[in-house]
Symmetry: C2
Subunit: 372 residues, 2 copies
């Protein structure tokens, strides 16, 4: 199968066109003087149109492609199902590939073969697409050498697969919004989210206190205990914050200078209430689907600033090199046991179950990471 | 009366205590080897407690005070009734003098007499308290030489009396929030407010387009015409902006990079809708008493930033010299006919009517400026 499809098979990445999968599409084969490196055929989760992910995402077999001289063929090891992956398939994410497209945006793989002029990578190396890019839900990916960032193989694959979206978001929000010093405090809602868990641990590693807001839910004491074990100073449910003087709950912790909001609605208002004079709230999600509401006096007299953070935009502004350095820092923290979060490895063969879990159809579940 | 009260009479400014007005309060008169300069007795609008301004503000006679060697006695010429003056009397403004206190925060006066070591000012000079300070609603004020900023006597007194709060707010918001270049655009609601009128004209003088939002009201065409005569590029009522694609109304004007909100509620949402990707909205008032509501995607994907502006805070951060330079610039624009706004001079004797007008009890009225 590899040979007769040769290098005229479709590319797997951005410009993937499943309608070309069946053959050479009438193009003539070109004879080449040297033997071309080709990828193995690949299996991919493809959506042909936007829609409900469990309706439109299908397993598709993709023929082999040529690995050009500057390209690297990577055998994917693991890739997560992130909420933004789901939103891209649904067609509600502002920047998304046009269908038909392969799902997924980050992951980790092992170099399978390299083009003739590739010098920085060798078969067996572990690599991640950095900055992350579309189409990681497939068994083999061929992309330019520059796309791949070599990482230490000592990291558990599920962490390598998930480091470039959520932990990097947490690190950038902590380091690039305002200057925080050891002893300062931050406040966040959605503290059990993957970014939330990373914020707690990354703050802790810098001596920054964290005040955490979570939903009222069954088993709340266990959740609080888990977040405190990660380094959370304070954890409150939204109901516990229905008090007159919210800041009396801070105890000895300074009023937070920075807040993170991934929920909106009342949970965002609670973050604003905790902030100190002149504080900043950064919105990076809206899980409640409710807007953020702010009083006039919060702006004028409390001097609060509100802004957003979007990893994809940050990465689009010539930050590739800087982000790779940050990813290496994050992976070192993982290896040192200072950065942990809950994940579940799901076999690729059972992608549908993993997707159902990611879609919330099976109750609260850990982050689903596909193992190829 | 001047002589027998001497220099033991109460100070008129921050620490004014009306209970001392009646006499020497049991203190002995001190004989001095040189003749002390004393102010004339003063008449002031005083409130003894926070409350409804038309109930608590009273005309009080204040005895003469000594003019110390570094002090200047100023005969006030004019002072406005600003909304923030009313809020201070009501006790709802975050920074306010403790009652009993004299009302007012800005104004213009003529130097009446100076202390023995004062060299920068002479009787007859026109001065304004800069930065503005409490207690301008009185006929004579004695304060340190440094408090007073000498201005050109060629400016109409009602402009000199009103330049340090609203026009300075407009200028600072235009110049200190983001960098704007000629050809850029701003959007604002509350465009008929005094700050709004100044924004239009100051933007125009720098080649910056303004998009203006006003309330639906009787005589709206006349209001639009007046704002356009000032230099407004576009003026819309809120109802006119209930359209699907608000930006189609911009015509050839670029999407605004900066927005000003002094209303809140829907009028603030309209400002946000007009803003370009990465734009900033500055809130400096909340006339509708409704909060600002912002969607999650406005923060994340449209990358909007929201903040506040408060003149009193800006002035508190060592900006006295800079603000005097800006006031001189604004007064020059007034003299050149490039900065105009509607005011009504009201005789001090009829303060109560002016206050009723400022409180909105007599319908829509121009800014009330007391003439002493």
């Amino acid at each position: 199968m590899l040979r007769h499809l040769g290098f005229h098979a479709p590319r797997l990445a951005f410009n993937f066109k499943p309608r070309l999968v069946d053959g050479c599409n009438g193009q003539s084969l070109i004879t080449r003087a040297f033997s071309a490196v080709v990828s193995p055929p690949s299996k991919a989760i493809v959506y042909e149109a936007h829609g409900a992910p469990d309706a439109v995402a299908k397993l598709v077999e993709i023929p082999a492609v040529e690995v050009k001289e500057n390209e690297v063929c990577v055998k994917m090891l693991a890739a997560p199902i992130n909420p933004s992956d789901i939103n891209r398939i649904q067609g509600v994410y502002p920047v998304r590939p046009e269908p038909p497209a392969v799902g997924g945006y980050e992951g980790v793989g092992e170099v399978h073969s390299v083009g003739s002029s590739v010098s920085s990578l060798s078969p067996g190396d572990w690599v991640i697409p950095s900055p992350p890019s579309f189409g990681t839900w497939q068994t083999y990916i061929v992309k330019d050498e520059n796309v791949w960032h070599k990482i230490d193989k000592g990291v558990p694959m599920e962490y390598a697969a998930t480091i470039t979206v959520n932990p990097l978001t947490a690190l950038l929000m902590l380091e690039h919004c305002i200057t925080l010093n050891s002893g300062d405090a931050i406040v966040q809602n959605g503290a059990t989210s993957m970014v939330g868990q990373c914020v707690i641990q990354l703050a802790k590693s810098r001596g920054i206190h964290s005040v955490n807001i979570i939903r009222d839910r069954p088993g709340v004491d266990e959740v609080k205990e888990r977040l405190k074990d990660m380094g959370a100073d304070k954890v409150f449910t939204e109901n516990e914050l229905e008090v007159k003087n919210i800041k009396s709950l801070l105890g000895g912790i300074p009023e937070p200078a920075l807040g993170f909001n991934c929920v909106g609605g009342n949970a965002a208002s609670l973050v604003l209430k905790f902030l100190r004079q002149g504080g900043t709230m950064v919105t990076y999600g809206g899980m409640s689907k409710k807007p953020v509401t702010v009083s006039t006096s919060s702006f004028i007299f409390k001097d609060l600033s509100l802004r957003g953070f979007w990893l994809q935009k940050w990465l689009s502004t010539d930050k590739a090199e800087e982000s790779r350095g940050m990813i290496d820092r994050l992976l070192r923290l993982v290896q040192e046991g200072k950065l942990k979060y809950k994940m579940e490895l799901a076999p690729f063969d059972d992608f549908n179950t993993a997707l159902d879990k990611a879609l919330g159809k099976l109750g609260s579940q850990p982050k689903q990471v596909i193992k190829f």
